[in-house]
């Protein structure tokens, strides 16, 4: 296997490392909290309310479109806690970043308990990223000297008449903390899905921007409103964010439904006897892994997945099925016709134009790029290779290794002529990783 910087996150197994780092930070914070001077009773009350709200926020996690988990209410409450200074007009809290992180850890762990009891999967790396992000916010706001060695916390007294400056400073702190969160999550996904890190970060920042703005605003709102309203501000000022969370949940839900529909439709050809069992699903899984490896964005990967699932849909227009459903064995003209029929069917939806474009060129050989200067979409080239591999190997459990070698040999014969060499390399990398997993298991 080629070694390079791009493999670094996966080789370091960052998605496993992240929770460890985070546990270390939490432990350090607890130690610091114990070592610090005794807190007044009122502080304990405030911290308790925050811990409860963070736990409730963790229980109400949402899944973002694209499958990543997050807990907006927990994060917003965490940022608010990190930036809490006056609770009520004449009471100032006296805790530091250590206590903030210890409280947030307690809340987050408590929030994960119901899921653990019901044996639902808890994504430890996402949880770790959230905790680290709160820790960053607390350090920035409470300890980092920004003006004359004073942290933002003590500077608030200078800004009594220009409170909007406070607001902007808080939004900035939350923004930095959110970026740290995105950075951690991107490292974990790059490591887990074997994607280039920069691509993961870009996707993470782009997708998180909307929700991030809402989070930064909510954390700031709560911290500011605690001054006139007291701790009541915490639940009350989360109301706008609850609405946001509801809307995003609906959005993610319909995205999931859409995916289910496409997957069901991909089985049309299977039930019609045109393709072998699970062929579209296998090609889709392989294509997505290759697309990730080649650094495709999430948006493009989704189009690639849909196109791979529907790549044989053109066969429903055939009078009689191709033997074994293997388009790879069909005559080039037939392959092209199936591709065009499929693209035509998909184009009729009026909403899947990107997918139709991918389908239209899925049968075209790679040499068109070099000889005719045609612009074949990367997704089409990926599907062509994945489809060929699956047609050649088939479902065979027995003699799988031999079939695999034969398939790779056959694909190598068409390298540069039929198939894009870069894509074939990605195929080999993906298959090597799969073999490693199977071998280890």
């Amino acid at each position: 296997m080629r070694l390079g910087l791009r493999d670094l996150p996966s080789r370091l197994r960052l998605h496993r490392l992240l929770p460890v780092v985070s546990i270390a930070v939490a432990a350090g914070a607890v130690a610091a909290a114990i070592a610090s001077p005794r807190l007044p009773l009122q502080d304990w009350g405030i911290l308790a309310v925050f811990a409860v709200v963070i736990a409730v926020g963790e229980v109400n996690r949402i899944v973002l479109p694209g499958g990543r988990e997050t807990a907006p209410m927990s994060l917003a409450a965490g940022y608010a806690l990190a930036m809490t200074w006056d609770v009520g007009e004449d009471y100032r809290v006296s805790f530091g970043a250590g206590v903030v992180v210890a409280t947030a850890s307690v809340g987050m762990l408590a929030g994960a308990v119901p899921a653990l009891i019901r044996r639902w999967p808890v994504r430890a790396d996402d949880l770790a990223a959230r905790l680290l992000s709160v820790a960053v916010a607390a350090l920035l706001f409470r300890h980092l000297g920004v003006w004359d060695g004073q942290p933002l916390l003590t500077l608030q007294d200078n800004w009594a008449s220009t409170r909007w400056v406070t607001a902007i400073s808080m939004v900035l702190v939350s923004g930095v903390a959110l970026f740290v969160q995105s950075f951690c999550v991107a490292m974990a996904t790059a490591s887990r899905d074997h994607r280039p890190f920069w691509r993961s970060l870009l996707d993470e920042v782009r997708q998180g921007a909307g929700l991030g703005a809402a989070l930064a605003a909510s954390g700031t709102l709560i911290a500011l409103a605690e001054r006139p309203m007291g701790i009541v501000a915490l639940p009350v000022f989360l109301v706008p964010l609850v609405l946001t969370q509801f809307a995003i949940r609906r959005f993610a839900g319909i995205r999931e439904t859409y995916g289910q529909t496409i997957r069901a439709l991909s089985r049309l050809t299977e039930i019609g006897g045109y393709t072998r069992r699970d062929h579209p699903a296998r090609v889709a899984a392989l294509s997505v892994a290759m697309g990730r490896d080649l650094g495709m964005s999430d948006r493009d990967t989704l189009d690639l997945e849909y196109a791979a699932l529907l790549h044989d849909i053109g066969q429903v227009a055939l009078r009689e099925p191709i033997p074994g459903g293997a388009t790879m064995m069909a005559a080039p003209a037939d392959q092209d016709r199936i591709a065009r029929d499929g693209a035509g069917i998909v184009r009729q939806t009026g909403v899947l134009d990107h997918v139709a474009v991918i389908l239209a060129s899925q049968a075209k050989p790679y040499r068109h790029v070099r000889e005719l200067g045609e612009d074949l979409p990367l997704a089409s080239r990926i599907i062509k290779v994945a489809n060929a591999y699956d047609d050649l190997v088939g479902e065979a459990r027995a003699r799988r290794a031999r079939k695999h070698t034969a398939a790779i040999e056959r694909i190598h014969l068409g390298l540069g002529y039929e198939y894009d060499p870069r894509v074939v390399e990605a195929l080999i990398r993906v298959l090597e990783r799969r073999a490693a997993v199977v071998g280890a298991g």
Binding site: P65, G210, A217, M229, A233, A247, I254, T257, A264, G272
Partner: protein, 504 residues
């Protein structure tokens, strides 16, 4: 229906114009009175900021996700105005913002400006009368804020909603003849909860602006989560429509395999939805019915093309392959969560009232209502379609054919619903050109009860399926249907049957 309401508008347009004129006059009077009593708004920065927000609110694209989720930024802004800029300011903000609403004819725009201005003023006066404070810096602690700002704002909120509903119901009554009371109750029950939400958010806005000393910048903080929510709703709506279109377009693609049935699913879906009305089905059930109707024949993709297109040589094996389409369809879509209510409907849409249908030989009420509706709609559409052996029946003739099978093949209640629908709606028969007719020569439409009965009678052993000579238990009947397999001329193993069918 549509013609009547259009005429209604023409007849009463003078009355509507007078009404709109009156509303405008009231708005102007309210503005003048407020100015005289409460004076002009003092905080110009607040006035300008809030007006800007109001304009932004009305110019944003509304999320199109059905009536249950509505979003009205202008309501939130007006509630904040009640406290921050007083009655006169409210009238100005409401009026100016709505003047910038895009894509409205002048008459509607004028009415909306006046109406919003009026309910802004109403809210502000309600706030003052309910003891609301405008000196926010004198208030300390959550309790005082709640009593002197929160509760009065709630009163103002309710007042705004009532005035809004009142004025709107009036104009809708005059314009399209919807009874005043019905529309009023509808608005209040639909947007009541949303208004409470606007009230809460408006309250937060005011607290941040005044007591927390953030000023105009609080607009950014409060509205950011709402903008994101709105954005997500817009995405949700887009994705939902994309999903619907994908589903129907791909179903249409399956129909290309059986080109003689083109458009059938879409027609059934419409007819079934009409029939749900006299059967007084619930909203969710209607939704499930619509999807089941759209997808009822999707399993035909699993039926060999030869059977679908060249049925002259149909044997019982072929017929059995054809009857498998209802269970195949379920197999295809069972992983789609939102279709879970439609699965039974798809599976049983060829059951018969007398228990002689397929695949499970259910009888009477055992058959899901959705399936009974689809069965009737299915047959009706098949009969009103041109076929090679006969021209399309007229809707009345087709209804007669179906009524003849009432109580045997079809549920009498559902047939009655069909009669109501045929009476109420215009149902165009589906015609075919000479060329198309030529192509469908010998085609068997499995939904056409007459053709289906003929084929069964022609095939050996068919009598058991179509006319059961003696009453029998359901299990016995099922055994008899399955009994086709016992025919020594045929291979009993299902996979072997499938293979035989697929062989050229």
């Amino acid at each position: 229906m549509t013609r009547r309401s259009a005429a209604g508008v023409r007849r009463s347009s003078t009355a509507a114009n007078v009404y709109i004129g009156a509303v405008i006059a009231v708005a102007v009077a309210a503005l003048v009175l407020s100015w005289r009593i409460a004076g002009p708004p003092t905080d110009l920065v607040a006035l300008i900021t809030l007006t800007g927000l109001g304009i932004l609110g009305v110019r944003l694209r509304e999320p199109d996700v059905g009536s249950r989720i509505a979003f009205s930024f202008i309501s939130i802004v007006l509630i904040a105005c009640n406290v921050l800029v007083g009655p006169t300011g409210c009238a100005i903000v409401g009026g100016v913002a709505l003047a910038f609403e895009p894509g409205r004819p002048p008459r509607v725009r004028a009415f909306n400006v006046a109406m919003t201005s009026i309910f802004g003023v109403t809210g502000a006066w309600a706030y003052i009368l309910a003891g609301g404070s405008t000196q926010l810096s004198d208030l300390h602690g959550a309790g005082e804020l709640l009593v002197h700002v929160g509760l009065p704002l709630l009163v103002a909120d309710v007042a705004q909603m009532l005035v809004n509903a009142l004025l709107l119901s009036g104009v809708v009554r005059l314009n399209s003849g919807v009874p005043f009371r019905r529309f009023f109750v509808q608005i209040v029950s639909n947007s009541g909860i949303a208004y409470i939400g606007y009230g809460v958010i408006g309250f937060l806005f005011v607290i941040l602006w005044g007591p927390a000393d953030v000023g105009p910048f609080s607009a950014v903080l409060i509205l950011a989560p709402l903008f994101v929510a709105r954005w997500a709703f817009v995405q949700f709506g887009d994705e939902q429509r994309a999903h619907e279109r994908t589903l129907s377009a791909l179903v249409a693609a399956v129909e290309t395999k059986d080109s003689n049935a083109a458009g059938h699913s879409a027609r059934i879906a419409e007819l079934a939805e009409w029939m749900s009305e006299p059967l007084s089905m619930g909203t969710q059930e209607v939704q499930a019915l619509r999807y089941a109707a759209m997808l009822h024949d999707v399993g035909k993709i699993g039926v060999p093309t030869r059977v679908l297109r060249r049925p002259r040589t149909l044997s019982l094996v072929d017929l059995e392959a054809l009857t498998r389409h209802s269970s195949l369809g379920v197999k295809l879509v069972r992983d789609i969560d939102f279709l879970s209510g439609s699965l039974d409907g798809i599976r049983h849409h060829h059951e018969r009232w007398d228990g002689l249908g397929y695949p499970d030989s259910l009888a009477g009420d055992e058959i899901p209502l959705i399936s009974r509706v689809i069965a009737v709609a299915d047959a009706f559409d098949a009969l009103t379609t041109d076929r090679a052996e006969r021209p399309a029946f007229s809707p009345a003739q087709a209804l007669k054919q179906i009524e003849q099978r009432r109580g045997r093949q079809f549920d009498p209640h559902v047939v009655a619903a069909l009669a109501t629908v045929v009476d109420r709606h215009d149902w165009p028969v589906t015609t075919a050109s000479e060329e198309q007719l030529d192509q469908m020569r010998g085609y068997l439409d499995h939904d056409d009860p007459i053709a289906w009965e003929k084929v069964w009678t022609a095939a050996p052993r068919s009598g058991q399926i179509v006319q059961d000579p003696e009453p029998a238990t359901r299990r016995a009947r099922r055994r008899r249907v399955d009994g086709i397999r016992d025919d020594p001329r045929r291979i009993p193993d299902e996979s072997a049957v499938a293979e035989q069918v697929r062989a050229p």
